[in-house]
Symmetry: C2
Subunit: 383 residues, 2 copies
């Protein structure tokens, strides 16, 4: 027997490891008036040829449809476009199938970049369709709401609801880039701006006192001027995005399940699913932040003045400071249990330790929840 | 205006990049008799607790079901198990849905490792279900056929057929590891061993003269003894896997679309889909290898003796050296066109340059195809 073969026997029993890594690099480009034909940001997106493939939120298309047509006409580019009705109910496998059929019908190539224009729901659904078609095709995000500008813009999470569960199916699938144009915010209803402010409020509370101070001092300006004028909204968006990037960049695939950006996403998911008609995502998140702050206060992590200040800023941003779902102990326990399962059996609950910083706890009991409910009602009614 | 804010304005117009990387490391472990209760390979798979979650090919379960039950009983481990009928027709979204319901019903945690036991079809479907559930849960591959031992075992590609297209939906989703036990091969029908030899034949022809020589000198032994005894089958499997690893490790996500392991996968996919009843994957791949070799021969890349030798080794491995689908020019053109679309508009056709090495070409015309058809018939009939 050849000695080479003998060596093989040993190798066969030993095995080995395959070691490699996937480098990810995506651009984050701020641009103004992206449908102005002189702005080449969209026209020059890499990985797409003379033809541009667009998936767009129906509501956005209704407002910007003509501008978009003119933009691509003026830039001598063909466009194929699919409009999607974007509600939480439509965030399902049937809508994904519709997008996949659109890809198939238009013979989308494996490296052809899809331009996804819309809010968080559109970006989640379209990004998921891109992640599975031909084992993944490239896409660019163009967020069109304040919420998606500060949230979905920098993440890699895509997905759809399934089995009555939020984002039960999905992937970590980074785009090749994100184009951020805050002009979109000016056509948003106030309620949707409040929705975005909910996520910014969340980030400020656990990550940035400067951002919290900015919200406190400029709440009515931000709501009235819809982030259009002056330096304050630029700073707010910049801070929110850069705080988000600092959390996501080292943990884009959530290998670490202790994530401070999960703040606001522990007690809120079940209420949000049940009251999807009356509760926006940012509102639900903010309610969870207030509720978690009540837990922290009851554990003497910070003082009465701080809790008052937190409720008062939420109120000035027109966020809800109470909702009937947060009076239902069983609902909150269920939501905590689901989140714990999702965090692989650990609560990993982020709590503010002070304004702008956080700790994680793993020992929340039913009595913490009941006591926090009482505190929440009290501070809700106190002003 | 605060100078900090002014600086922000510039930053806002400049944007930035998010740069990170996903490290991937998975084990490749050779083990013998993995259902022997003294073998702890399965029992000690990381990321699974007292309960093991298994997805298994129905045909494998029929043979090894009792051994598997005893194995986990003896190791004092609970098991939940889903059996899947694995045919090319079942490799669809409905089977995926069945697996997802099984996960949901058993409250599979986010970091709970799924043990997937079966051939290439099982590993493709189950791996895909794992890739999308909760945005991806870990899984281990246990390939049970010669074909999957040398092919699916080391790759990261998972997927299902859709829109009548092979693997139209899927992902690059590496397992946490692969357990290789060549004992499984002994219960395979000869036809399925031939199927696996098709992929080994492919690899040898473009990557390893040593492997090609081994096949040539041991074809009847390998077929007769089903890879069970002596050093030769160990060396064959080792060489096939290590050649595969050397190609996949630096290109696991196929960022580079010039892939020599695509050899045999250009002209065969459409014939294979159309004749799924009479043509196994490895057979179709080998036919493509022979056809591509005819193209190379017609271009004077190698001589008559080499082409004879290639056909003769295929024949000795009981691989088909002709099939009616390869007489249909339009079918071959269609398959080349599809492959070209999949390679983002480039043919990137691998051709053997000699036995054990390859080149890529991008200028295949209809007359190359027609001439190769004539050559193929001639060499098919010549012995």
């Amino acid at each position: 027997m050849n000695t080479n073969y003998l060596a093989d026997y040993h190798q066969f029993s030993r095995g080995g490891r395959i070691e490699t890594s996937l480098p990810v690099s995506f651009f984050l480009k701020y641009s103004s008036s992206i449908f102005d034909c002189r702005n080449k940001s969209l026209a020059s997106i890499p990985g797409s040829g003379e033809r541009k493939v667009i998936i767009i939120d129906q509501a956005v298309q209704e407002i910007y449809g003509e501008m978009i047509s003119s933009y691509f006409d003026d830039n001598k580019l063909d466009v194929v476009q699919l409009r999607i009705l974007c509600t939480e109910e439509e965030k399902n496998i049937h809508t994904v199938e519709k997008i996949l059929r659109f890809f198939e019908k238009n013979t989308v190539l494996r490296r052809e970049t899809i331009i996804c224009i819309g809010g968080g729901i559109l970006l989640d659904i379209a990004g998921y369709a891109c992640s599975i078609y031909r084992r993944g095709i490239p896409y660019v995000k163009v967020p069109t709401t304040l919420l998606s500008i500060v949230d979905a813009s920098v993440g890699s999470k895509v997905g759809i609801n399934h089995f009555g569960r939020r984002n039960r199916l999905g992937a970590y699938y980074p785009p090749i880039g994100t184009l951020i144009d805050k002009n979109f915010i000016k056509t948003e209803k106030e309620q949707n701006i409040v929705n975005g402010l909910g996520e910014i409020f969340k980030l400020s509370l656990i990550k940035s006192r400067e951002l919290f101070d900015l919200l406190q001092n400029n709440s009515s300006l931000l709501l009235r001027e819809k982030f259009q004028y002056g330096a304050v909204p630029v700073r707010v968006i910049n801070l929110a995005i850069s705080e988000m990037v600092s959390e996501l960049e080292p943990n884009l695939w959530e290998k670490d399940l202790k994530r401070c950006v999960d703040f606001g996403h522990t007690f809120s998911p079940v209420p949000e699913m049940l009251y999807s008609q009356s509760l926006l995502h940012g509102e639900a998140v903010a309610l969870d932040c207030l509720f978690s702050s009540c837990i922290a206060f009851n554990r003497s992590i910070f003082c009465n003045d701080t809790l008052h200040r937190i409720f008062s800023v939420a109120r000035s941003l027109k966020l809800k400071t109470f909702h009937e779902s947060f009076a239902d102990t069983n609902l909150l326990i269920k939501s905590l249990e689901d989140a714990t399962t999702h965090r692989n059996g650990n609560q990993n609950l982020p709590l503010p330790s002070t304004i702008g910083d956080h700790i994680f706890v793993n020992d929340i009991t039913e009595s913490d929840i009941v006591n926090a409910q009482t505190t929440m009602v009290k501070y809700h009614e106190s002003e």
